[in-house]
């Protein structure tokens, strides 16, 4: 599940409470911009991704107002893009030379744009990059490209969610703690005609699955795609067996390569397991499937859990580069980040100082299980790391998932699926 989906889900769940809570945006802009030259004046455009809603709009308006107050003559035009089709929108903007001066980009998009020379290298242009968490900065630092291309803005991870009543029906009394347990539980449930899994493994999720068993699994190493390992193969073979037994919903195959299918199925109460972001309970289950709420139990992510990062990048084509840099630093400074993640429960700020005291941004959980999820997320953030690789594109992931779906269905072998996916990725590299 991608972060933007989580945020999109969060967007739906805007509450009056959040409105009342969001007074933190209007802090003073004390920190002097580190951007080397130029006056901080003129117009710039700032683009966010699906964050214009009752919950976040007052926050951004306050941040913009505070910045403009601190820098008379500077004007920030805040725009927001819908959750769907963001990649195409950004591409269109970049191609027509209208990439916003300051723009919210996930690491993969930033990689494509940075490779095309569209983004400013923050390592050389900003003096405050050292204030941000290392994992986040690393997500915007790419092999073969000098520098770093995004200020880490907010970070998230993924947890496992279980439907207790379905587990109990299948004779499983305790939520599985390891991936192996999960598969065994799925087999047990299948015998009772209950489905557990509604997603097929992908090269990215296989990284967590293999590391859970103590192995190592890379997607891209030394210029080559290397995710076709025997361990990955074994997992897919197990999935194929489970599919025959009825542990995996047909939707898992139908939707291979589409985001969120497992969450939707879990919300419908048709499967016993899903992975989702840390704010899933309060922001999705409580809103979209409230009857399910008492049955949901959360456990930590398997193996090396995924780290999701969103960052703020600065366009290299900006006409008011100094203003753009100053605003990018301002919107991602500790104070503003804390105020932001207060609104986005379960996410973590991107600066070291902000993370030093988690109680500063912890939102009160509305449901007891949400508190468990928030705590679990906090405990696994240090282990979480970016899955995949910047070179590993969404198209490659989609292709691989589709091949793996065929393998799970039993039409091709697991080895064939992985080898084909590696070959495809290799062909489309660069």
């Amino acid at each position: 599940m991608t972060v933007r989906r989580i945020i999109a889900a969060a967007a739906v769940a805007s509450t009056a409470l959040a409105l009342a809570a969001c007074t933190g945006g209007g802090t003073e802009a004390q920190s002097a911009p580190s951007g080397s030259g130029g006056d901080i004046t003129g117009d710039i455009t700032f683009q966010t991704w699906s964050l214009k809603n009752d919950k976040f709009t007052p926050y951004f308006e306050a941040v913009v107002a505070a910045f403009e107050k601190a820098h008379p003559g500077a004007k920030v035009n805040w725009i927001d893009q819908p959750a769907e089709g963001y990649e195409d929108k950004v591409l269109q903007q970049a191609e027509s030379g209208e990439l916003p001066d300051v723009v919210n980009l996930p690491p993969e998009y930033a990689y494509s744009l940075a490779s095309a020379g569209q983004l400013t290298d923050l390592k050389s242009a900003s003096k405050v990059l050292g204030d941000y968490v290392d994992g986040g900065v690393a997500a915007y630092t790419y092999d073969g490209l000098d520098g770093s291309y995004g200020f880490p803005w907010y970070l998230g991870t993924e947890l496992n969610y279980w439907n207790k009543s379905l587990l109990a029906k299948g004779g499983v009394t305790e939520a599985p703690k390891t991936f192996q347990d999960a598969l065994d539980a799925a087999e047990k449930l299948a015998a009772q005609g209950i489905q557990t899994i509604s997603d097929v493994p992908s090269p990215k999720s296989l990284q967590s699955m293999v590391t859970d068993g103590g192995g190592t699994q890379e997607v891209f190493k030394d210029g080559k795609f290397v995710f076709n390992t025997p361990q990955a193969e074994a997992i897919i073979e197990r999935y194929a067996a489970l599919y025959k037994e009825g542990a995996i919903s047909p939707e898992a195959l139908a939707n291979a390569g589409t985001a969120n299918a497992n969450v939707n199925n879990f919300n419908k109460g048709t499967v016993a397991w899903t992975t989702a972001g840390p704010n899933y309970i309060d922001k999705d289950v409580a809103v979209n499937a409230p009857t399910l709420l008492p049955d949901v139990e959360v456990t930590h992510g398997f193996g090396t859990p995924p780290l999701f990062v969103q960052g703020i990048s600065v366009s290299s084509k900006s006409k008011n580069a100094a203003t753009a840099m100053a605003f990018a630093e301002f919107v991602t400074n500790t104070e503003n980040q804390i105020a932001f993640v207060k609104l986005a429960a379960g996410f973590y700020p991107g600066t070291k100082a902000a993370n030093s005291d988690a109680s500063a941004f912890a939102e009160t959980a509305q449901n007891p299980e949400q508190q468990v999820a928030t705590d679990l997320a906090a405990s696994q953030m240090n282990d979480a790391r970016m899955l995949g690789a910047p070179q590993y594109t969404e198209a490659m992931e989609t292709y691989a998932k589709q091949q793996i779906a065929l393998a799970v269905k039993g039409e091709i072998s697991a080895k064939e699926a992985l080898d084909k996916s590696v070959e495809y990725a290799q062909q489309n590299l660069g």
Binding site: E87, D88, V90, L91, A94, E95, E108, Y109, S112, L113, S115, A116, Q118, G193, Q195, G246, S249, P250, E251, A252, L253, A254, N255, A256, G257, T258, A261, K268, T270, T393, E394, A395, T398, Y399, K401, Q402, Q403, A405, L406, V408, K409, E411, I412, N428
Partner: protein
């Protein structure tokens, strides 16, 4: 009355010409050029000759996509050519409240294809209505994979297309049936022709023109099928992407920051040529008389020439 200036007609058609050039011709020419390049977003472009087209034949996804699109055409054309005609005959009768039935049959046409496809997804998903029904009656033990089996998925999509298209083509046939006089039917009946005979020998020839039109429209639409398959498979094209149509493949290839625009353009060009084939066939069939006349004329001219030549030689 003042005479108009010489340029007035050109001025009047100018907006249309600009529109066609800007939004149809220019993008088309652009696609043709791109098909011979390795264009990808934000990267320098270079010409690669026919490499994209060579790549097509090694790409199994292209083969799957062509197969899907052709199967779609082969199944949809006969179904959507004859079923709407039968439906039109049914609601052609002048009985009370027939307007209600005509409206009802037309209803799916008005509904958005995406919305309808989502409803079908509810029906056919693993936990959907159809599977629940089958299970309830004990016909199946585990859900039928309507949406995760290549051919079942294509079948569902075809069903959706046909259901949604029926009303539209029915209206076309209704108009044609209105022009078909009762005399022919009466004459045929007098000669002892039964219902079936009259259908084949009076009704069908009477609506031959619209039938041609309908089959061409269906053929082109089926070749370019996208929405139904896309929504039913959530954009994935089923396991392995094997139920992708050509347009879906073009879309998935060309989109995003890493889209292969050149390759996608090459597929578009192939699709364009493939769409021309049925159009050409219909063109020939529709203008058979003209072609026959032309051929006869040529034969006569040749014969005349031969006569003159033999006369000259004699």
């Amino acid at each position: 009355m003042r005479r108009q200036r010489w340029y007035t007609p050109y001025l009047l058609v100018l907006p249309g010409v600009v529109w066609v050039f800007g939004f149809a011709l220019w993008p088309f020419l652009n696609t043709v050029v791109l098909a011979f390049t390795d264009a990808r977003p934000l990267r320098p472009v270079s010409f690669v000759g026919l490499a994209n087209f060579q790549k097509l034949f090694d790409d199994e996804r292209f083969v799957y996509a062509v197969t899907t699109s052709l199967v779609y055409v082969l199944v949809c054309v006969p179904l959507l050519t004859f079923l709407p005609l039968l439906l039109a005959l049914l609601v052609h009768a002048k009985i009370p409240a027939i307007g209600f039935f005509r409206t009802t049959f037309y209803f799916p046409v008005i509904a958005s294809a995406v919305v309808v496809a989502i409803v079908w997804e509810f029906l056919f998903s693993g936990s959907g209505t159809v599977n629940a029904g089958l299970k309830f009656f004990g016909l199946v033990d585990r859900p039928v994979e309507f949406l995760s089996d290549r051919w079942l998925l294509i079948g569902c999509a075809i069903g959706l297309t046909v259901w949604k298209g029926l009303g539209y083509y029915m209206v076309v046939y209704l108009a044609a049936l209105g022009n078909l006089g009762r005399e022919l039917h009466e004459a045929a009946a007098m000669d002892g022709a039964g219902r079936w005979r009259r259908f084949w020998s009076v009704t069908v020839p009477g609506v031959r023109g619209p039938m041609m039109l309908v089959s061409v429209l269906v053929c082109v639409a089926a070749m370019r099928i996208f929405t139904e398959l896309y929504v039913l498979s959530n954009g994935s094209g089923g396991p392995g992407g094997r139920a992708m149509s050509m347009v879906m493949l073009i879309q998935s290839m060309g989109k995003g920051l890493n889209g292969q625009v050149g390759y996608a353009s090459a597929i578009s060009l192939v699709l364009f040529v493939m769409t021309l084939v049925p159009l050409a066939v219909v063109g020939v069939v529709n203008n058979q008389d003209l072609i026959r006349e032309g051929a006869a004329e040529r034969r006569m001219r040749r014969a005349a020439r031969q006569v003159t030549r033999t006369e000259a030689a004699a």
